[in-house]
Amino acid sequence: MTELTLVQAVNRGLQQAMRDDGDVLVLGEDVGLNGGVFRATEGLLKEFGEERVLDTPLSETGIIGTAIGMALYGLKPVAEIQFLDFIYPAFDQIVSELAKFRYRSGGQYPCHVVIRSPYGGGIKGGLYHSQSTEAYFCHTAGLKVVIPSTPADAKGLLLTAIHDEDPVMFLEPKRIYRSVTGEVPDGDERVPFGRARLVREGTDVSVFAYGAMIPVVTEAANALAAEGISSEVIDLRTLVPLDEAAILASVEKTGRAVVVHEAARFCGFGGELAALLAEKAFFSLKAPVTRVTGYDTPFPYALENLYLPNVERVSHAVRTTARAG
């Protein structure tokens, strides 16, 4: 075990996979000499050389298109898109090509690319360094969507992603890249997809969240405990595949659910969770499912703390849900 920040854990995950498998390579803007703008790829160029750590020209569609070609031939590329906000030139490659290669070729051309990208607000990044648009990718069949919230999960889920057979969107909560530290297992210790993490056990309300919202939700749950409200906090970790069993089991126990994400509300992932609970846990529910989310506006600069769900907003929603009905 080693005490690491979340971004250091990403770095160790890449290093581990590249040491264990010569087919793994890293490509993206500023990932080599500069070690990535957040230092996630620091030291990799020195250890693995420029054939396996590629500083690319500034073209997201080129990065992902090239990674797809590499994967078709059997390499295991891990592409970095510097900010999730910059991924859209590659959106065509991701949804039209990457997600559909296995299906449209009847399994002749599986296409396993991992796309790492920092996402989310809280770093004073304004409209174009802050967005949380995981729902776009969850909506496309063929992709897996993973969002860690702890250093151990960042490394363990990244290793699973790199050794998986399907394309994976690996979204990193940059707001907690350095603010969260934790013990991380050494070596090739993988965390499986499709298993939610029980952050805090409780009996009154289930709170579902992921990524940078986990510390916020946990703080709110701790504060509410003093008021006598027992919250069960569940970190979804992988949005696709989704651990439906864990979600349903928790709500069958508590009968109340709050969903928290920093993405905009309309057609956000929380809507999918609310629909899931309506379809499969309706008779367990004692109160309406409540969402705490970002607003249906572009991401603001000066007012980002107003936009992002915080401890007060989450506490208010949990309290209201606990008392409803």
Binding site: T61, M70, L72, P241
Partner: protein
């Protein structure tokens, strides 16, 4: 009745053809003729079946045969093809069975891709012919990645990206040529300029004099070739492949051809093409240009033309018959291959959501 237009002759002496095609040049010429005849027969039959409602869609490659046939013959087994809409003949020449391709066209249960694509979008991994989408130009940067992987694995292979004149305006043309040049990769970019992107003529697609000249902006060589001259394509593409294999980097080839059919089974060129287009295209018919050169030099007589014509027609008929007798894909295939088979075992949510 108007007289058939004069065919623009192939400008070669037998010695020049022998030098372009190598020692077994007569055999290669015979193969070129036969494959072009088969392509022609396939297009004719499928367009007819489409009009009868027996296949859903068809994108004919009539007029493109010299490029596809020469590419199929001059590439090596280890090369990879990243095709556009009109390159299926490349797969067939490289050895993909016509019968399997017919199963694809009819989207039946024996289609390797299980009937999931529109016709003319086959997957033929047996000959490294990569599955294509209908999005224009995306395969150009895939070729760059394939070439990178070939070099990393020390394979002598070359990646060939095929695309049309319209794709030179698309994002991945820019991204792909730039990356391939920066990394000096073994890629040949094959722009098959048939002068029409559905209804838009090439002079309104781009203001450059030749599409090949766009290569200069990326620092790689570009060359325009007569794409209706099968000898010129074989020689020019052969040189580009040799250079790429020798580590000399990528090249952009522009093959100028005439689209001799509508874009697909869904449009009417009478709305947008000039009246003399058909006659101009017919004069540069790649199949007739080859046939007339071979006849003139005693390599093809009327008897063998008739015999080959009948043989390829029967081959097409047999493949179509077999496909039409095959049932539709089984319903369970709808949710397969979305994710790897292992995904459904490993994850509680299962592979196919919503089921």
């Amino acid at each position: 009745m108007t007289a058939a237009p004069a065919i623009v002759p192939l400008p070669y002496s037998p010695e020049e053809v022998a030098s372009a095609l190598g020692r077994s040049w007569k055999k290669t010429l015979a193969a070129m003729y036969r494959w072009m005849a088969l392509g022609r027969a396939l297009d004719a039959r499928m367009q007819g079946l489409q009009r009868q409602g027996r296949v859903g869609f068809y994108g004919a490659a009539t007029g493109h045969e010299a490029v596809s046939v020469a590419a199929g013959l001059v590439t090596r087994r280890e090369d990879w093809i990243l095709p556009g809409l009109r390159e299926q003949l490349v797969a067939l020449v490289r050895g993909h069975p016509l019968g399997t391709y017919a199963h694809h066209l009819f989207a039946d249960d024996k289609d390797p891709a299980r009937g999931r694509n529109m016709p003319c979008h086959p997957s033929a991994a047996d000959v490294h012919y990569v599955s294509m989408s209908s999005v224009i130009g995306t395969q150009i940067s895939h070729a760059v990645g394939v070439a990178y992987a070939m070099r990393a694995r020390k394979s002598p292979g070359v990646a060939l990206a095929f695309f049309g004149d319209g794709a030179t305006s698309a994002n991945d043309f820019h991204a792909g040529l730039n990356l391939a040049a920066v990394w000096n990769l073994p890629v040949v970019f094959c722009c098959v300029n048939n002068q029409w992107a559905i209804s838009l003529p090439v002079e309104r697609q781009s203001a450059v004099a030749t599409l090949a000249s766009k290569s200069a902006a990326y620092g790689l060589p570009g060359q325009r070739l007569d794409g209706t001259d099968v000898i010129a394509v074989y020689r020019g593409l052969g040189e580009a492949l040799r250079d790429a294999r020798a580590g000399k980097g990528p090249k952009l080839l522009e093959f100028l051809v005439y689209r001799m059919t509508p874009h697909s089974s869904s449009d009417d060129p009478g709305r947008y093409q000039p009246k003399d287009w058909g006659a101009r295209a017919a004069a540069s018919d790649p199949f007739l240009r080859l046939a007339s050169w071979m006849s003139e030099h005693g390599l093809l007589d009327e008897g063998s033309r008739t015999q080959i014509g009948a043989a390829v027609e029967e081959e097409v008929r047999a493949a179509v018959r077999q496909a039409e007798e095959t049932s539709a894909p089984v319903p369970s295939s709808l949710t397969e291959d979305v994710y790897a088979p292992s995904a459904s075992e490993n994850s509680p949510a299962g592979a196919a959501r919503g089921t």
